[in-house]
Symmetry: C2
């Protein structure tokens, strides 16, 4: 049986940033309506999976420092493993989307801000930048990923700078890089033994980190799903708006292309794009793109608005490079890689 | 003091492959003469360092299986740490080049086939695909690198295929990825404290492996030097000659660009190019290129022959990305990278 999967990369245009209450409740309903429209359009085009951006339910709020706890809480989805606690699929901000996905038989990968309460320590919460893979066929979240590589800082840069406060808002993900099989894409009734797709998730800045890609590659990943919100211009860095935007797109593409090529997998990278807020740091690049296992661009969006990129991917294309140039068992020399684990920062040769 | 260095990437055209004696003694003298011409031209253009390709003294012999031990021995430079054994800088195939480099005050990085005899085990030899960094100022080899990621196979593919037998000819390098300071580039007399450049070497296929780049990046590398011999067409793989050549160049560039960008360093990639032998596997891509720490192309050669690409690189450009987006101490999460060391090959999620 051919191992194809039809994927829709569902780029979103900006989610408006209200200056006094960025991403607050008022902006939730229009965003959900847009997600539903994209889902319907994707299903009509035959998509089996729709990939939405990072923080797809709200504006990219880490560009601002919110000081009102209620404002912050309104941006997060509460989750817990406490007995009887509601699941993420019951969130009023997600439930209508996932219910419709189930009805359409379309899987969904989507990013959001997670406020986690551990049943063992109910007095504290931990906030993550999270993505889930929801299977329409099983009606369940089959994989969760919490962003590991949080960019930016815990504190503000001088006024006039583009701020990036993910390290203030979020805790680095604690789930590692776990690949998973997407259930039920291929008929697994008696007599059929087609392996289900091996997928993995990354979020935004993770795509620049080869360690993240390799951890998935070492699990035979065939399809990497990655949403992002990437700033187009930072006044504190050199270059004009146009120069910086072009450079941001170059960095985006080279990271995605090299990650796909060197791990012999398809990858789907989905932007939230356009101007979410006036002033420094309010603009986001587009460039939603799919790369194939040979590092070739399958397609790319053309706008900074809500836009679908739909492609049918032949996952068996991964096999040839995985068996030859990137046959890890044949070629990797882990005895020389210890520094990657043993050392976090730089240790320069002596002067 | 500005931390610039003027580098010449000295692309070589093909070194003729005599069918009965590939790369044998007859081809050594013309190759050396060409190296000397490139060195003179580079010095005349102000180069402080000339980077030559992988296996720059011979044809890329791993495309053929040589069965005569004397033919093979003729392609290698003998080296040993036995007392009184001659140094590599005394090799008749290199000495004239390095002596002229010293006279010109130009450093040289160059690749060659090394046949190593360990004084502690003089009955056996070990063959490596090696590069050295020779300092004109100190008159010594200040760094040696032995290729870690040997591509290809130990045995032949069916006749008509392009062969890649590096795993037959060479042992994987045992020196790891050691960055080093290039001595004496900046005046280090009293009162000057300009740090000397931090460099590292890779060879050919290593540039496709993010682990190799990261090991250098974790040492603060500012300048990666990498020679290569990369096949343009393999009959056993899909696509026309033109399609495969374009794809080989794409893979070359995305690997070099992503490696430079994600480790915030300059990198210099130097081809042996053109048709070295008739038939499958005899043609090599060009594309000698320099990338900057932001992943931008500084320059690229235009031919498949002997050609210099000279550029003055401002190493202080590395600082901004090393301190922000690729500040490893701030952003890396080594607790999630264990798989990179603990696992050589792929472990797929269960079916």
């Amino acid at each position: 049986m051919p191992r194809t999967i039809t994927v829709a990369a569902a780029q979103m245009g900006p989610i408006a940033h209200a200056p006094t209450n960025p991403g607050g409740p008022a902006s939730r309903e229009p965003a959900l309506a847009r997600l539903l429209t994209l889902l319907e359009d994707a299903a009509a085009q035959g998509a089996q999976l729709v990939v939405f951006p990072e923080l797809a339910l709200t504006t990219f709020f880490p560009r601002a420092l919110l000081t009102d706890a209620a404002d912050v809480a309104a941006l997060f989805e509460p989750e817990s493993d406490a007995p009887g606690a509601p699941s993420i699929v019951d969130s009023p901000h997600l439930q209508p989307l996932l219910a419709r996905a189930s009805a359409l038989g379309v899987d969904v990968s989507i990013g959001y801000a997670e406020r986690w309460t551990d049943a063992a320590a109910p007095q504290t919460t931990t906030d993550y930048n999270t993505a889930i893979y929801y299977s329409a066929r099983t009606g369940a979240v089959v994989a969760k990923y919490r962003k590991v590589h949080l960019p930016g800082r815990t504190t503000m840069l001088p006024p006039g700078s583009a701020q990036q406060l993910e390290k203030h808002y979020f805790t680095p993900g604690n789930l590692g890089f776990q690949a998973f099989r997407i259930p039920g894409v291929y008929d697994d009734s008696a007599g059929h033994n087609t392996p289900q797709p091996i997928a993995g998730m990354l979020i935004c800045n993770d795509r620049r980190w080869a360690e993240a890609w390799r951890c998935l590659g070492l699990q035979g990943v065939e399809l990497v799903l990655c949403g992002y919100n990437t700033s187009d211009y930072k006044p504190q860095e050199p270059g004009s708006v146009q120069e910086q935007t072009e450079l941001a797109l170059l960095h985006h593409h080279t990271s995605c292309q090299a990650g796909s090529y060197t791990n012999a997998c398809f990858s789907v990278h989905v932007a939230k794009a356009g101007v979410e807020a006036e002033g420094a740091g309010g603009g986001l690049i587009g460039g939603t793109v799919i790369y194939d296992p040979l590092g070739r661009k399958v397609g790319e969006t053309a706008t900074l608005g809500d836009e679908l990129l739909v492609a049918t991917l032949d996952l068996d294309m991964c096999a040839q490079p995985k068996q030859t140039i990137f046959n890890f068992a044949n070629h990797r020399r882990v005895e020389h890689y210890a520094r990657i684990i043993e050392q976090v920062g730089v240790v320069e040769p002596p002067l």
